[in-house]
Amino acid sequence: MYPKKISTIKFEVLSPQEIRRMSVAKLNNPETYDDDGFPVESGLMDTRLGVIDPGLKCKTCGGKAGECPGHFGHIELAAPVVHVGYAKIIARLLSGTCRECGRILLKDERRDKFIREIERLKALGQSYEEVLKEVFRLTKAAKKCPHCGAEQIEIKFEKPTSFYEILDPEKKEEQKLTPKDVRERLEKIINEDLLPFGLDPKAVRAEWFVLTVLPVPPVTVRPSIILETGQRSEDDLTHKLVDIIRINQRFIENRDAGAPQQILEDLWELLQYHVTTYLDNEVSGIPPARHRSGRPLKTLAQRLKGKDGRFRGSLSGKRVNFSARTVISPDPCISIGEVGVPEEVAKELSVPIFVTPNNIEVAREFVLRKQSPKASYVIRPDGKRIRVIDTNQEEIAEKLEPGWIVERELMDGDIVLFNRQPSLHRMSIMAHHVRVLPYKTFRLNPAVCPPYNADFDGDEMNLHVPQSLEAQAEAKILMAVQEHILSPRFGGPILGGIHDHITGLYLLTRGEKKFEKEDAMEFLRAVDLSEIPAKDEYMGKEIFSFILPKISIKFKAEICQGCAICKEESCENDAYVIIENGKMLKGTIDEKAVGAFKGIVIDEIMRKFGSSITKKFIDDMTKLAIRVITRLGFTIGIDDEDIPKEAVQQIEETISEAEKRVEELIRAYKEGNLEPMPGRSLEETLELRIMQELGKARDRAGKIAGRYLGMDNSAVIMAVSGARGSMLNLTQMAACIGQQSVRGERITRGYAYTHRTTSHFRSMDLGSKARGFVRSSYKSGLSPIEFFFHAAGGREGLVDTAVRTSQSGYLQRRMINALQDLKVEYDGTVREQTSGVIVQFKYGEDGVDPMKSFRGKAVDVKRIIREIMEVKE
């Protein structure tokens, strides 16, 4: 079956004839419904325009509400009015053409040159906006018509819809051009003269910019809603159209009654206002039309515009069925490729089974089932949906035959798409297999949090069920979690252990730890291993080796101190990891080995064994790590940051010393003895030096605290292994919070005229305390003044995040819009699809997929050589 296809869409301006031709009714009654609640003939709710009330039938097509798509009507305007959206081009045309003969104010040769230039650029697919500007500039300047020789009068365009002829610039004598005058002038312009203005005579005639007939959209476009009180509330468009008809009728009445010119003109203005606001209610220069409540009306332009407008809100983004959303929570026992779906959700969502001779028995079984997963609906080939209930299930099962569709509830193993907003990259939507579980949250393995950027502090996620076999196949093959372990951003893994996984493996593999048989078996219980050598004791590294595929790799771990000369194997820190043929010999597993974004081990397994083995490794690793950490026990508390008295003493001294040095710097500055740094003023130098001094002091305090906390401290373990937190966090908890800053400087703002931050200080005090240095630690608590500065510094962080998200969001939207039509063709070139422009002859100059590349390199030459040489030996 070939799908129906729309091949092109052409945009043109509606002509009055066209408007009348497509209209089914001429409307001239401002009433909408009569007293009985029936639509009034020739009113805006005329049943010829379609129906929205159930029970009524459309007079044009006979369809009921929901069947009839609606039909256009029209209003014959008693006086022509200008279309706001085209006012600017009208202005250009008026000042660019002769007021007498209507010809363009250019000689024919000149005009033809411009036409050719526009056509040339059009053919190249380039913008010809500049040519149009040039035409406007030249024609506006012309004083005399080159065709009939008539004197030209300058046209003044007053936004939004008024035009004047400036009779005498000195005396400010102006003659208003009525829309009727304007229309008459535009009528005189010949088709060939429209081209240099950028108009296509096949699509548009200049006089159509002045409306004489107004199309009225069908009622289905502007349905009224019935309020709880039973009152009818009309759509904003209907309100506006009522206004237009009312004024239009009044104009006719007054004109027929021979009312004075002034009154007619006022009514004309009013009609212009209503038509203008009907088209666009945010035109600058005129007050927006308002609802009785004072809310501005949402008219045509407003319906299309903006984020929730028709284009971005309803056409580019669509609402879908077969989806679910709920809170997420962690479950380390399920695979990274799975998602835990609550029973209630699974019962509601459905997957179609397309019945064929091969699966009819399976389908029948679902129809007959009494418990979930059972069939919820069947769809007959004629499109009728039948709900499967206890009383009819046997009857349906009997009737079932190929060609029917059985909709069954979601069950274990189904493929679904899982998504968390903001969907910043393609890993924000991945395919998981369903695991139906009790309770009411979606469950996911914590190792897949990094690509979604999810945590469990109340995050919600969406789930979608693909409904066609093609979609399911694509999801399984292209979108499955394991296919996204490597990121196309940098060609490294973005999936990996987090938090407890890293701590657990760190505890397991660090040093020469031995574990009793019982412990070891407990650790490995959840892991699917075929064979474990029988022993009484197992080394930690040995246990980890059980889950490792046969890889060989050497690297420095996260805990590496960065010594000048790496001692490699004999590293006393056990920071040099050596894995040979799947056996871990040396080193410690930490963030660098299995963490998300870093994970060297994961990267290696992925490249050597592919996605399914890597998936299994991550599953095993997380299970092992969680069991290790549960069995060994791991906790932190407030007393973990306790440091002995002498440490506190030392820290106090360090900070006092630093403060003293700051005092000295300030004194030197005041006495003029401070040497400025090259290219900096004296004040800047002082600030930089003070910041340096205090920064150093905090680091030193942190070092002291770190020394006393020791490597066995749980918080320290987390910080060094990269599981969570940093040594800076610990420093701030145990020793000293340090300098607070706003805009990268010490806090200087405060009482504007007294040159001090708060009233606790003297004017011009530059000392550390007065400028936001927080001496206390989080544990010891902050003084009120320190707390104030800390709040000031903290607020900047919050503002920063808020501003950044909106800015980077817009940047990304722009980039997606600019680049979305790029595609790699079969010949390896990158082309823009709409214009066919070749952007790159070979993608990235080598045609390599960044995801498959080795951290940017096209081929991992070293590993190939290593592998080949290994085989040789």
Binding site: G306, H425, Q807, V859
Partner: protein
């Protein structure tokens, strides 16, 4: 040498060939082994190629946009040279992709010809020629309201340091005031007499004199000399590539600015492309974010594809799309639709947004395949 002949047989990208050669020379293996290695490398290369239909544009946009959320907003930072403030982080990235004509912190890195690069003194000489020296830097300017004159007292020490003669100074002053005033020289001082006795004119001339650049390039506010390895390098605050290239002693083949639009104007579109890539990589790397070059290259190529620098956004790539629907869905919905009607434009519905809007499959990835299976009866 022997490795070259083996490599020549394989159509691998030059960078890969280079690396293979380097590695082979390290281990010095037999020809047969080398051939095997190259063969494996070639197979690996083929399997690492992108598949046709891949939506490279979207992947690139996501790869640059996603880390954007992690970047800092902090505008100023010290990069490389501690003395200069440079815009970094997200604001800088936006600036690059917007192709701003006036970046917030223009900066140049000027390398010198070898005869000037070795000694600090010589480098200083070039720096003097570049850095804008205002009259107020080399002389004291005073206004005498009563006499309606301006007195300029040259600072000879400063003049010597800048290697500027009194005659040159005088020429510069005369050139600027010639219409409105006359210059009298009295024992080493210059007296400027305004032609009309007008307070306003006096102050105007005074302003002009204060802002008078007597030496160097107006746009370059500051020059910093730094030693980098063996040579002295100049870093400037402010940028004017065209003028700096003409300065004696400047090695213009190794002189760059961070103003991309200026590079485009002076050196052309290919240079602009290279500059976009370089600046974007530096910005991302400074933030510690890893992004594959290929993504950045693609963005740079889109911006420069038709020979003109186009920004990513309303007035550039996204705004000049062929498709009306795509433009309307991006920004300025109503204007785009009205304009399209005037011009009688046709939307060929080849792009992504258009097909999403009308509910048809998009021509990317699996949607691009035009094979249709004939569903006949199974034999």
């Amino acid at each position: 040498m022997s490795y070259d002949t083996i490599l020549a047989e394989y159509p691998l990208p030059p960078s890969v060939k280079e690396e293979i050669k380097e590695e082979l020379e390290k281990i010095k293996v037999k020809k047969s082994v080398a051939k095997k290695i190259v063969d494996y490398c070639y197979k690996a290369y083929l399997s690492n190629l992108l598949e046709p239909g891949e939506a490279v544009g979207i992947v690139a946009a996501q790869s640059i946009g996603e880390p954007g959320t992690q970047m800092t907003m902090r505008t100023f930072h010290y990069a490389g040279v501690a003395e200069l403030n440079v815009t970094l982080g997200l604001p800088r990235l936006i600036e690059i992709l917007d192709v701003r004509k006036n970046p917030s912190t223009p900066m140049m890195t000027i390398r010198l010809l070898s005869e000037y690069a070795k000694e600090r003194e010589k480098a200083r000489e070039v720096a003097n020629r570049i850095e804008a020296t205002y009259l107020k830097d080399v002389a004291e300017i005073e206004v005498d309201l009563k006499e309606t004159i301006i007195t300029i007292k040259p600072d000879f020490e400063a003049l010597r340091r800048k290697d500027l003669s009194i005659g040159e100074l005088r020429d510069k002053i005369e050139k600027i005031i010639k219409k409105n005033a006359e210059l009298i020289e009295i024992n080493g001082k210059f007296i400027v007499k305004v032609s009309k006795e007008s307070y306003k004119l006096l102050m105007d001339v005074f302003e002009e004199l204060r802002e008078l650049v007597v030496m160097g390039i107006k746009e370059i506010r500051r020059v910093i000399i730094r030693k980098e390895g063996e040579e002295y390098v100049l870093y400037t605050e402010g940028s004017s590539l065209k003028k700096v290239m003409k300065i004696k002693g400047v090695d213009f083949t190794r002189t760059i600015t961070n103003d991309i639009y200026e590079i485009y104007e002076v050196l052309g579109i290919e240079a602009a492309r290279a500059a976009i890539i370089k600046e974007a990589i530096e910005t991302l790397e400074e933030q510690g974010l890893e992004v594959d070059v290929r993504h950045i290259m693609l963005v740079a190529d889109v911006m420069t594809a038709d020979g003109e620098l186009r920004q990513i956004g309303r007035h550039g790539v996204a705004g000049e799309k062929q498709s009306i629907l795509a433009r309307a869905a991006f920004e300025m919905t109503v204007n785009n639709l009205l304009d399209a009607a005037l011009k009688g434009e046709v939307d060929n519905l080849k792009g992504i947004t258009e097909n999403i809007i009308i509910g048809q499959p998009i021509k990317l990835g699996t949607g691009d395949v035009e094979l249709i299976a004939k569903l006949g009866v199974r034999r």
